[in-house]
């Protein structure tokens, strides 16, 4: 695995499967009376949240604490960031504190990339602007796998504001890596202009896609998109792209309904659909902690087995593992495409996987 998790494209198929398998292993401790493992004892994880997201922060915090890491929460509100300190200065502070891992949530796309250039610890992207949210995609894949088994050849339909969705970007990349067939559904205004270069299908007609879906993932649609003329009214959006009981009944029997939250009940998803047994929305939240434990363990903990080794050795042995897989690949990227190379490499679709 790479040293940071910034994009779902950082993960090879083997990396992704390792995370999902590790999460399966870790989920067993959820059934134990004591949920804590000593694996990351003595390690420091900083939750750096520049954007309000209590649910994601709590999820990462719980994950780190269950692995016995020291957790420092650093949010833009009430911190020096709101006084105009730059991300770089914040990064230098984290360096001085000796953070082994930094979980960053930021409203600017690419902030985790920048941070990774300024700190030595592993950077985990907890959502950056309209770019990516790779641990969300991992927990979604984990949830799908638990409900449906192997994802190879599974048909996943993602519906909503693709243009502004970091969840959609990470899911398209990860699901493609895992062999699933993804179809994106939205009004044409809510796709990026070059979505045809993405490794997925694109559709405008939700109803036509429903019978061919094993999974339907609904994305939150923000009402302010209406004032920017992305669609005429919330009512029309809901009618054309919302998941209601009628559409639910058009899905195959086994199909599941997902939503990364927070939901707009009555807009992209009807309340009765959100609360139906086909919905995995509550499971997704629980799975989020497990999957984030697996990510932190694999990035910070090393090569020892998550539970077996930790239980035997008290976890400390695992500390010394890990470094072999550190490559700094992300930091080093980009320079190659300058000058003449920039031109030679242009338009090579395979470079997408480097995102």
């Amino acid at each position: 695995m790479k040293r940071h998790l910034i994009s779902a494209a950082d993960l090879t198929r083997d990396d992704a499967l390792l995370i999902l398998d590790t999460a399966e292993e870790l989920s067993r401790i959820a059934d134990r009376p004591i949920k804590k493992l000593p694996t990351l004892r003595g390690r420091t994880v900083v939750n750096l949240f520049f954007e309000d997201s209590t649910r994601t922060r709590i999820s990462f915090e719980a994950a780190a604490k269950r692995l016995s890491a020291d957790v420092i929460n650093f949010s833009a509100k009430g911190s020096s960031v709101s006084k105009g300190e730059s991300l770089k200065d914040t990064a230098l502070t984290l360096e001085a504190m000796g953070a082994d891992g930094v979980v960053i949530r930021h409203n600017a796309s690419g902030a985790p990339h920048r941070l990774a250039g300024w700190v030595r610890g592993s950077v985990v992207n907890a959502g950056d602007g309209t770019h990516e949210h790779p641990t969300q995609a991992l927990l979604d894949a984990y949830t799908m796998r638990r409900r449906l088994g192997d994802l190879d050849g599974r048909r996943v339909t993602i519906v909503g504001d693709i243009l502004h969705s970091r969840v959609a970007r990470s899911n398209v990349l990860l699901l493609n890596t895992l062999g699933a067939d993804v179809t994106l559904v939205a009004p044409p205004t809510l796709f990026p202009v070059a979505v045809d270069t993405w490794p997925c299908e694109v559709a405008y007609d939700f109803d036509a896609v429903l019978p061919k879906s094993d999974v339907v993932m609904m994305l939150r649609v923000q009402q302010e998109r209406m004032s920017d003329a992305f669609f005429p009214t919330v009512r029309e959006y809901s009618r054309r792209y919302g998941l209601d009981a009628r559409r639910l009944s058009a899905l195959p029997e086994h199909a599941i309904v997902m939503h990364p939250g927070p939901m707009n009940r009555g807009v992209e998803i009807a309340a009765e659909v959100a609360d139906s047994p086909r919905s995995t929305i509550v499971e997704q939240v629980a799975n989020g902690v497990t999957v984030r434990m697996a990510v932190l363990y694999l990035l910070l903990g090393g090569s020892e087995p998550a539970i077996g080794g930790a239980a035997r050795d008290g976890g400390d042995a695992a500390r010394d593992g890990g470094d072999v897989s550190r490559g700094g690949a992300i930091r080093d990227r980009g320079d190659v495409s300058r000058g003449g190379d920039a031109i030679r490499n242009g338009g090579d679709a395979s470079r997408r996987e480097d995102a």
Binding site: S109, R114, G129, G339, G340, R351
Partner: protein, 426 residues
């Protein structure tokens, strides 16, 4: 008095050039002048002093990024003998007072001629015309007017400006950017922006304004200059406008001739610029257009910023790149090494044509007897990695850091007086 020995004028056969009393006094083989300082120019190419139509000197207002002194030193180091200082200073260069101040600072610094560009609209606000005539009549003798950084998007205001400057043979230099189509825009809209989740700056936002302005210029019979053309579509529109015989000229920046939007993958705002870096197809179209003359000239859009304006996330970072000290090497790499232009072509696109567009009489002239002694000696054989720490400019925001580029400016002469010798600013 300087005697340049063995320089290849426009890359031709070696010749000696005698500079005396601010003009080229003699050109020929085996010249002697006992009182002259000899400059050995074996292997060096002599070009007319370069002229930049688009430089941000930042003074007054942002002296932390650049001053007239530091910016014109950088210009001289890059082989320039004249620059046009853009109007988006603080205060804006929208009155005779401000343009005269910048002009005077340029004269005092003495590294190259500074020709202030006047704002088209008061405060660059796009609402009312600035006193264009007063700036034209001032000591700065302004002939180029631009709201650069902002587009004169109001069609009526643009029409009036184009018409009004005819009275003093001025030209409106448009920063072509349809504002509504580029709200919050961060980079070229395309495959890369979609993948990176950065708001797109679509090519059509540039092309729509260029098309409109060409039609307006034709309608009122005025001169239009298009700043920093960046798309293949813009090139097609310009080619069409020129085929009609309309008075439309255009510039391209060095960075748009070499770099593509894939560099945004690093999220390093040193690659953030307005207009944004585009695609490989656009780069190729721009090179062809510069070669065939559809695009008249190279202009740097030298845009200095302090380090903290770039050491941030992409979205809040400032747009712009510095370019004066690397322009000639980049054009060498993109146009000469590729066989698209010879050195006479480089001289035309970087000196003669920009001087003509700016209506400068003492610049952009061929290196021949009687012409003002504005010239630069360039070593085409040098090849070095760009080192921002070695820049003369106050700022370091170059997208070329570490990139190996050909050539090096050896000397620059402004009316017979060296501003650069042995690669060092004097």
């Amino acid at each position: 008095m300087f005697l340049i020995k063995g320089a290849r004028i426009l890359g031709g056969a070696p010749a000696d050039i005698l500079l005396r009393d601010g003009v080229v006094a003699e050109v020929g083989a085996g010249l002697t002048a006992p009182e002259a300082t000899v400059v050995e120019a074996d292997g060096l190419i002599a070009l007319p002093g370069l002229v930049d139509l688009h430089t941000h000197l930042r003074e007054p207002g942002r002296e932390d990024a650049e001053t007239v002194e530091s910016g014109t030193r950088a210009a001289a180091a890059g082989g320039y003998t004249a620059v046009h200082a853009m109007a988006n200073t603080e205060p804006v260069a929208d009155t005779a007072g401000v343009v005269e101040q910048v002009w005077r600072l340029g004269r005092e610094a003495g590294h190259c001629d500074v020709h202030p560009v006047g704002a088209v609209t008061r405060g660059l606000e796009g609402e009312r015309l600035a006193e264009l005539g007063a700036m034209a009549d001032s000591a700065a003798r302004v002939r180029v007017f631009s709201d650069d950084g902002h587009c004169v998007s109001d069609a009526v205001l643009m029409r009036r400006a184009l018409e009004y400057v005819k009275a003093f043979d001025g030209v409106v230099a448009q920063h072509a950017q349809e504002p509504r189509l580029t709200e919050h825009a961060q980079m070229n809209e395309g495959e890369v922006s979609g993948r990176l989740g950065l708001a797109g700056w679509p090519a059509v936002a540039e092309e729509a304004i260029i098309a409109r302005d060409c039609l307006l210029a034709a309608h009122v019979g005025s001169r239009l200059h298009v700043c920093h053309v960046s798309t293949a579509g813009s090139v097609e529109i310009l080619r069409w406008a020129k085929s009609k015989g309309w008075q439309v000229t255009a510039e391209v920046t060095p960075h748009h001739l070499l770099l593509t939007d894939e560099l945004a993958e690093t999220y390093d705002p040193v690659y953030k610029v307005n207009p944004p870096l585009r695609t490989k197809a656009d780069v190729e179209a721009l090179r062809e257009a510069l070669a065939d003359g559809t695009i008249d000239c190279v202009a740097t859009d030298h845009a200095p910023h302090p380090a903290e304006a770039k050491e941030t996330e992409w979205a809040p970072a400032a747009m712009g790149m510095i370019g004066l000290e690397t322009a000639l090497s980049v054009v060498h790499e993109a146009m000469v090494e590729t066989g698209l232009l010879d050195w006479a072509g480089v001289a035309d696109r970087m000196s003669a044509r920009p001087a003509r567009i700016g209506r400068l009489t003492g610049q952009g002239r061929p290196i021949e007897v009687g012409a003002p002694a504005n010239l630069t000696l360039y070593d085409p054989a040098a090849r070095t990695a760009v080192d921002p720490a070695a820049f003369v400019s106050k700022s370091r925001n170059t997208p070329f850091a570490g990139l190996e580029l050909p050539g090096r400016v050896h000397a620059t002469f402004l009316r017979g007086r060296p501003t650069v010798l042995e690669g060092k600013v004097i």
